[in-house]
């Protein structure tokens, strides 16, 4: 781990100490401090992005470099789990890259709110693009009135489906919960796995709940998050119980692949791509991976996953995608901020959003949106989109607790009330 000269020996040794104690027990944590980003040199910006944003961020950096001859960058990417380890270790050591990935809102150890509490993010509020952030999304970008991250737009969550599998079973895209069950039943009778679920990959476990909760919770109680914050609502006494019951209903009816807890995200992706399974509940940001698994990209479509039998109540989850921020300790903060300002131009927002299949944060005129996302646009327009639930959770413990209890539910090790009680307990712990 390359350390910046500004790290004092005492600080370095303290950090090594924590790692040493941990390594004494864990044996292998040394690997966690790795990452492939070297230290910055000269006028080169050191950038670490999220793997899911690679296409968009790389294009923005390349375009900016072409327009600014003195600009150069050292870019690397980390998958989601390594952002929690290698990048966080660099932040802890005071060796943060100049620009780095940050999750919007709260709810994760690498989220905007958690990092801003530690004063690790530079204030971007003076930049003109920040005035264009839609009101409903401000909580994802701002803390204490300061805008601290840039993100190109919103990713939606729904069912990515294989059109050929649907055609084989002679079924259409469902718009209500009952229709969904009927479609799954017909697919199953044709020998096609209705829904591929790779629940061994922890973050996949949450997606079906996230797809159902906008309909079972937020359509009836739009201020549910505020009530949770105030302590007047709980997971266990809310529509979360209905969502989890429906999750288990899909399992009990045999609509998932066998052994979802032993199946990975990659295996589930392959099942849908090849038509062995008909659909998977996923975020639009991973569409590219599904397209790569399919014979032709046009085989795949996407539709809002219905949660209720009242079409008007079927809201969708649409969250701001992982963004980038300027390190408050960067010696090249001004240079990094200029790049962020460039990212905030509508044409850059559009190009980045198009590259990662998300809906642009804002646009001038018609935005270019991946055609498979069109079924979701009316929901966004009608304010029937709810940010991904974790972005309003107060600490980094609720989300992994959610992952674990879903695996326990699928494994028959717990009940819905007990699972939600655990999530409530995690929620009530201090941030």
């Amino acid at each position: 781990m390359a350390l910046d000269r500004s790290v004092s020996r005492r600080r370095l040794l303290q950090l090594m100490g924590g790692a040493t104690v941990a390594a004494t027990a864990a044996g292998t944590l040394a690997a966690c401090g790795g990452g492939n980003a070297g230290s910055s040199s000269g006028g080169t910006l050191k950038v670490i992005g999220a793997g899911s944003q690679e296409a968009g961020l790389r294009k923005a950096l390349d375009d900016y470099k072409k327009a600014n001859s003195g600009f150069d960058f050292n870019l690397s990417f980390s998958p989601a789990d390594q952002l929690q380890t290698s990048l966080r270790a660099q932040l802890a050591a005071g060796n943060a890259p100049d620009l780095h990935a940050v999750y919007p809102g709260n709810g994760s150890a690498m989220s905007m709110v958690q990092l801003s509490k530690a004063n690790l993010l530079a204030d971007l509020s003076s930049q003109s693009w920040t005035q264009k952030i839609p009101t409903g999304f401000k909580g994802a970008f701002q803390n204490d009135g300061k805008t601290l991250i840039f993100s190109p737009g919103t990713s939606v969550l729904g069912a990515i489906y294989n059109k050929k599998a649907f055609a084989t079973a002679g079924v259409e895209v469902p718009t209500t919960w009952s229709e969904l069950l009927s479609v799954c039943d017909k697919l199953k009778k044709k020998g096609i796995v209705p829904i591929a679920l790779g629940a061994q990959t922890p973050w996949v476990t949450q997606l079906i709940d996230y797809a159902l909760v906008p309909g079972t919770v937020y359509a009836k109680t739009p201020d549910f998050d505020d009530k949770m914050t105030a302590g007047t609502a709980s997971f266990v006494e809310s529509g979360w119980a209905d969502a989890m019951d429906k999750y288990l209903e899909l399992q009990k009816k045999g609509f998932f692949n066998d052994n979802p807890n032993g199946t990975t995200y990659e295996q589930a992706t392959s099942m849908v791509g090849t038509g062995k399974a008909a659909m998977a509940v996923q975020v639009s940001a991973v569409l590219q991976a599904f397209r790569e698994a399919a014979p032709t990209p046009d085989d795949l479509g996407m539709f809002p996953f219905p949660a209720t039998d009242v079409a008007a109540d079927n809201w969708i989850p649409g969250g701001v995608v992982v963004g980038i921020a300027v390190s408050a300790k960067s010696k090249k903060a001004e240079q990094a901020k200029k790049f962020i300002e460039y990212c905030g131009r509508p044409e850059t927002v559009n190009a980045w959003a198009e590259a990662v299949a998300c809906v642009p944060l804002y646009s001038e005129g018609d935005a270019k949106v991946d055609p498979v996302l069109k079924p979701f646009l009316p929901y966004l327009k009608d304010n029937k989109a709810v940010p991904f639930m974790d972005q309003r959770w107060p600490n980094a413990e609720v989300q992994p607790t959610h992952f674990a209890v879903v695996q326990e539910l699928l494994g028959g090790r717990t009940t819905v009330p007990a699972a939600l009680k655990k999530m409530d307990e995690a929620y009530r712990k201090n941030a």
Partner: protein, 309 residues
């Protein structure tokens, strides 16, 4: 026979004393001790201070919380479940890995023609990165009926034994244990083999002349003289089991649910996923003390057993 083996053992124990007389100056050890103190002891002790704070792992904000983290640890269901898993895994690994290692060592310590090749084959998994081994076994444990181990079971007519090896909460921990044993049994074998090479052949020859059979010779000659190798193997596998981390993170990430979490994965998650570096360090500290205590007790007992042998 026992008397002969004990005599050999006593010779071995006395041998270093005869070489004594001039104690090596401690001054020689000072450079190494200084480096050790600087890069291991001081950072470990100063880092351990975090266990008494609520530090998130980033930023400067931290408050002294006294023993709160330790009190929380002993009321934390996840940590207590992880402790149970850690002990289960350790017992399974120590017993089975060393049992298989001993059998392999005895098997290749014979005159069979292919013994050198077999030694290489049995040791080969040890030199592969644990992460690679974990991903390899994750493939083998694919739950689909037409993939990995399940496909093999189906092909040989044992389709009824197909399992969700890593997805079944009751089975996952044993699947991980099997992988660790598969990789590390060769290591135990090599240590036992070194011990077997040190058993004087004439003891076996004279025992055979006295009419001792294979079992009697193993019980009264080989087993007592393998005591030092057993000590090393038990020590290493116990510490390895208590600190097991890589294979679990790579294969199950502690899941399904918390079914395969160990103390090592809990402390990792607390630090890097939950952002509770202070609490994580408290878990690490307790684990380090626990491992040290178990190791001292174990080595004390095994050393006394060596002397008795």
């Amino acid at each position: 026979m026992t008397i002969t083996a004990q005599a050999v053992r006593r010779d071995a124990v006395r041998a270093p004393r005869r070489r004594g007389g001039i104690a090596p100056p401690w001054l020689f050890a000072v450079p190494a001790l200084a480096v050790y103190a600087l890069v291991v002891l001081y950072p470990a002790l100063s880092g351990a201070g975090s266990a008494f704070t609520d530090w998130s792992g980033v930023g400067e904000q931290r408050s002294f919380v006294g023993l709160d983290n330790f009190q929380q640890l002993f009321h934390d269901d996840q940590a207590l479940g992880a402790l149970r898993n850690t002990l289960l895994l350790t017992v399974a690994i120590v017993v089975i890995q060393n049992g298989i290692g001993l059998l392999l060592a005895l098997g290749v310590h014979t005159n069979i023609k292919s013994r050198m090749t077999l030694r290489v084959i049995f040791f080969a998994p040890v030199v592969v990165s644990p992460v690679m081994v974990s991903f390899l076994w994750k493939y083998v444990y694919n739950p689909a009926p037409d993939a990995g181990l399940n496909a093999v079971l189906g092909a040989i007519g044992l389709g009824g034994l197909r399992q969700d090896w890593l997805g079944n909460p009751s089975l996952a921990i044993w699947s991980v244990a099997f992988t660790v044993i598969w990789q590390c049994a060769g290591y135990s074998m090599v240590i036992f083999l070194a011990g077997l090479e040190g058993v004087p052949a004439e003891l076996h020859e004279s025992a055979m002349v006295d009419g001792a059979g294979t079992v009697a010779r193993f019980r009264h000659i080989t087993w007592p003289l393998l005591a030092p190798a057993l000590t090393i193997n038990l020590m290493l596998s116990t510490v390895g089991g208590l600190t097991l981390f890589t294979q679990i993170i790579a294969m199950t990430n502690g899941g399904p649910g918390y079914a395969t979490d160990t103390l090592s994965t809990v402390l990792y998650k607390q630090a890097f996923v939950y952002g509770k570096f202070g609490y994580s360090t408290a878990v690490a500290l307790v684990l380090a003390i626990f491992v040290a205590a178990v190791s001292f007790i174990q080595i004390g007992y095994l050393r006394s057993r060596e002397t008795a042998a």
